[in-house]
């Protein structure tokens, strides 16, 4: 029966065969072609009209847009010869269309026809200009921010984790630490800013402390609840097999609590970013928060957007990194949240 229908299908499908490759080609490469058209439009929007202001990178930006258009076109049409890179490009082609269209609109609305009020809405080329001309200062700021954030976050995560495990494990520690945690924890770390800046020897150490505080609270609470919620059956099993208390903590409680710990680390990362930016805006004379503040002072709006883009890349990069570490450590866990 099935063989008959198979040959039937082949026979009657013959006229369709000639149309099918075209459809398949459109489905596979259509978005790539559209992306290419969108980026050509962006390139043309840069080059066809005169700028309303004085920006030096308009021409280069137009050329770059044409290059992207060419890559999108040849990358998707020839994806079969490019392996995984080609497949990845095809998958993202729809986003390239949207991005090209957005940039074209942005270019026209700012640099060419000034539909949006000018100093506040800089055109794409002025942001490119910031990345090329103000690069050293921007890199210094990135470096300062990463250093401050990393130091505070690591200290906060380590202290929070140890505190959480101790409260979860020892009733005596819980008795003393829990009320303190209840009292201080919910306070936003930024509320400590004024006090921290004159009690600590330097603004850098004050900010490190605050970032650690913002990280430490969620990490502590979630580690604690993770340790406290470990099923007592696991401890029974381990004890009958000859486990000592240290084994119960290190090899039973902590691995069982790890999924909770990562939720805490994730929440801590979010709140520590907020503290970082505020601390840099108010006290620390370096970093992206300070760069933002400084750019605003000079009404250098392009620099602000440029710094914001870098900041968002850093934050989302940090979270991606955290999730990658989690996925590595928790391979045994199925159906986890996707970022």
């Amino acid at each position: 029966m099935s063989t008959y229908s198979l040959s039937d299908g082949l026979a009657s499908g013959a006229p369709r065969v000639s149309r099918a490759p075209l459809l398949a080609w459109v489905r596979e490469s259509g978005a790539g072609v559209a992306a290419s058209i969108a980026w050509i439009a962006f390139g043309l929007s840069c080059l066809l009209w005169e700028d309303v202001g004085d920006w030096s990178r308009t021409h280069s930006l137009g050329i770059a847009a044409f290059i992207v258009a060419a890559v999108a076109l040849f990358g998707t049409v020839g994806a079969d010869y490019l392996g995984s890179a080609g497949r990845a490009l095809r998958q993202r082609a729809a986003w390239l269309v949207a991005l090209g269209a957005f940039l074209t609109l942005w270019e026209l609305a700012t640099a060419k026809f000034a539909w949006l009020p000018l100093p506040f809405f800089p055109p794409p080329q002025s942001i490119i200009e910031v990345y090329t001309d103000d690069l050293p200062k921007l890199l210094d700021s990135v470096f300062a921010s990463v250093k401050l954030q990393l130091g505070g976050y690591l200290i906060g995560a380590a202290v929070g984790f140890l505190t959480g495990v101790s409260i979860g494990w020892s009733r005596a520690v819980g008795y003393w630490v829990h009320p303190v945690l209840r009292f201080i924890g919910p306070l936003p770390a930024t509320a400590w800013l004024p006090i921290a800046f004159f009690t600590f020897p330097s603004s850098w150490s004050a900010s490190t402390f605050l970032i650690a505080l913002a990280t430490g609270f969620p990490v502590t609470v979630l580690t604690w609840s993770g340790v406290a919620s470990v099923s007592s059956a696991y401890y029974d099993v381990a004890r009958t097999l000859g486990a000592k208390p240290s084994f119960l903590v290190l090899k039973v409680a902590i691995p069982a609590a790890l999924p909770h710990v990562f939720v805490g680390l994730f929440m801590g990362l979010g709140s520590s970013f907020a503290v970082l930016v505020v601390a840099e805006m108010i006290g620390v004379k370096a970093g992206l928060g300070w760069y933002l503040q400084w750019a605003q002072g000079w009404a250098a709006y392009a620099n602000m957007y440029a710094a914001l883009i870098v900041m968002s890349l850093l934050c989302s990069g940090a979270i991606t990194l955290l999730f990658a570490i989690r996925d590595r450590l928790l391979v045994w866990q199925k159906g986890t949240v996707k970022w």
Binding site: D236, V237, A238, T240, F247, P255, W332, Q333
Partner: protein, 265 residues
């Protein structure tokens, strides 16, 4: 062949330990009220015996097992393993619980290795883990995680995790209770053959009279809570036993009668 199996069981019986439960009583505090669960229980188990503890559900059998394992201390009385008082858990007395309670973050191999790792002897004894996995027929699943196993496989891993310690007393708390009937029958046969080969003393809590009679030398029937020993029945039948054995059927009727069931089926 039956004699050979029996002879083997006897020669290996040195591997099992004697267990003495002497006038043990126990109670729980629930909202300030005292709830007695065990009342003056005395049982003496010979090395290498397979004893089934049978009773209505919630009668306190599992509590008795926890006391034997050393996880809890009795309110009154004493428990001894080979004349030594039981005060805390020890890997010579290993429990297999009703739920496999495998550690989900550990692979099958690492789960089985748990006991040796906890005792700090894993490095020199890795071969025992492989041997235990072979014993339960799961060598191919050594790298699998618990969530990838079926119920029967998970319970086999739990059994391997217990056996890798070469226990003198194996404590089974309804380990087959949640398995489907086919897996159950297979695993009952496996348990008997493991017990015959290894010679450990076995304590099995169950509420299934047939299971008790197919597996054990001795069936101890408990009363309702607080549990008292109601009957101590020897089952002198060779292994492997057959479910249709009229002798066992007769015993089963007696036991169900003791448990308060009027047996007409």
């Amino acid at each position: 062949m039956v004699e050979a199996a029996l002879a083997e069981a006897v020669t290996h019986s040195a591997a099992g330990a004697a267990l003495d439960i002497e006038q043990v009583s126990h109670a729980f505090d629930i909202d300030g009220a005292e709830l007695p669960v065990l009342s003056d229980v005395s049982i003496s188990v010979e090395p290498g015996e397979f004893v089934a503890l049978l009773g209505p559900s919630g009668c306190g059998k599992s509590t008795l097992l926890r006391l034997v394992a050393g996880l809890d201390k009795p309110r009154a009385g004493a428990l001894r393993e080979d004349e030594v008082r039981i005060k805390s858990p020890h890997p010579s007395r290993v429990v297999v619980f009703q739920d496999p309670t495998l550690f989900p973050w550990r692979s099958v191999w690492d789960n089985v290795a748990l006991g040796l790792e906890a005792q700090g002897i894993l490095k020199s004894q890795r071969h025992r883990v492989d041997a235990a996995l072979d014993l339960v027929g799961l060598a191919d699943f050594r790298n699998a995680y618990p969530h990838q196993l079926s119920g029967g496989m998970a319970q086999r891993v739990a059994l391997a995790r217990a056996l890798v310690n070469d226990p003198k007393i194996l404590i089974l708390d309804e380990p087959l209770g949640k398995l489907d009937s086919l897996t159950r029958i297979t695993m009952q046969a496996e348990l008997v053959s493991l017990w015959q080969r290894k010679g450990f003393t076995t304590l099995l809590v169950t509420h299934d009279a047939e299971e008790a009679l197919v597996l054990a030398n001795r069936v101890i029937v408990f009363s309702d809570r607080p549990a008292r020993v109601k009957a101590d029945i020897r089952v002198d039948r060779p292994y492997p036993r057959h479910r249709g054995d009229p002798y066992l059927a007769d015993l089963r009727r007696q036991i169900l009668g003791l448990l308060g069931l009027d047996v007409t089926w």
